[in-house]
């Protein structure tokens, strides 16, 4: 039950099945490791807080890898014989219409929309989880979902 929702959250954030598998695996390992830190309350809130942290850890790692790749690309461009190597974005999954439109939203709003949808938490819980005021979360989500609706219906 939780695996499907967490997988959906990761998949809609990344658009990549293999990567979502990895993140899901990492999530459940971290749950076992951190189970003692669960102090009761909404389990989803605790679960998706960890899921969100894992996604952010991944993004930070990706940034580091991108820097390394960029450095390597510059180096390869200086070496004519080796410049056939192509740098492509990961993820060969066919992106559905929703995935395409989600990717047009800014990253923070996209994450908020997906957190709300897959965690099934209330706005108050989401605002607490993200450490931001309730009004801010409401406003961002409203703008994001309105935009998504326009894109999907347009």
């Amino acid at each position: 039950m939780y695996a499907g929702r967490c997988y959906g959250y990761f998949y809609r954030l990344t658009g990549d099945r293999d990567l979502s598998d990895e993140l899901l695996s990492e999530l459940f390992i971290r749950l076992v490791e951190k189970i003692k830190s669960y102090k009761g309350g909404a389990f989803e809130s605790w679960l998706f807080k960890i899921a969100s942290n894992i996604f952010h850890d991944y993004l930070r790692g990706k940034q580091r890898r991108k820097k390394l790749l960029d450095a390597r690309r510059v180096q390869l461009e200086l070496e004519p014989d080796l410049n056939e190597i192509r740098f492509s974005d990961e993820g060969e999954d066919r992106l559905d219409k929703l995935q395409v439109h989600l990717s047009r939203l800014d990253a923070d709003t996209r994450e908020l929309i997906l957190l709300r949808f897959y965690s099934e938490l209330s706005f108050k819980e989401i605002a607490e989880l993200r450490s931001e005021p309730l009004g801010t979360a409401l406003s961002k989500l409203h703008r994001g979902l309105k935009k998504l609706r326009e894109l999907m219906e347009g």
């Binding site: 809609r12 695996s25 909404a42 929703l98 099934e120 938490l121 209330s122 409203h142």
Partner: protein
């Protein structure tokens, strides 16, 4: 009870917006979420889920074992420390007003000859040695006894040994 089921979105928006705008915002959110529900994300592969389950179960077992070893190590360390304090720590006589609980009978630690420290042990040890000597003599043919006596001696020896370990 899940909080979201009782969430009044229009009411929440009305904290920040006029009622018509709050209702419109609510409608936008519902419509956006309907799109999300209409395009479900794929489910994780069953093999992936099985692999994760196996991995987490193994991890949980390992953590459980580590915790058990940890507790045993702490208990052992505590026993050693307490025994050390009992043996080499300051005596109540050295520090008047402070008394230390004896964990093990002091006699056991103060002598290499356990039997000499306890009359029961002295008695059992003597009995066992006597019976063992008798058995050896019977085996060697030094003592000529009736056929049932050897069994009787062995039974007596076993009974004494059992009594010994009962403490």
């Amino acid at each position: 009870m899940r909080e979201r089921e009782h969430e009044n979105l229009v009411g929440l928006f009305q904290r920040f917006l006029e009622e018509p705008a709050a209702r419109a915002a609510h409608e936008d959110i519902e419509a956006g979420e309907r799109w999300l529900a209409a395009c479900p994300a794929p489910l994780p592969d069953a093999r992936v889920v099985a692999a994760i389950k196996a991995q987490t179960a193994a991890l949980a077992r390992r953590r459980h074992r580590t915790a058990q070893w940890g507790r045993a190590a702490v208990a052992t360390a505590a026993a050693i420390v307490l025994a050390w304090v009992g043996l080499f720590g300051p005596r109540s006589a050295d520090r008047p007003g402070i008394s230390y609980a004896a964990i093990l009978p002091a006699a056991i630690w103060e002598s290499d000859d356990l039997a000499a420290d306890d009359l029961d042990i002295v008695y059992f040890t003597a009995e066992i040695r006597h019976l063992e000597a008798t058995l050896r003599a019977v085996d060697a043919g030094e003592i000529g006894l009736g056929g049932g006596l050897r069994d009787e001696l062995e039974n007596e020896l076993m009974a004494i040994e059992a009594e010994f370990w009962k403490g």
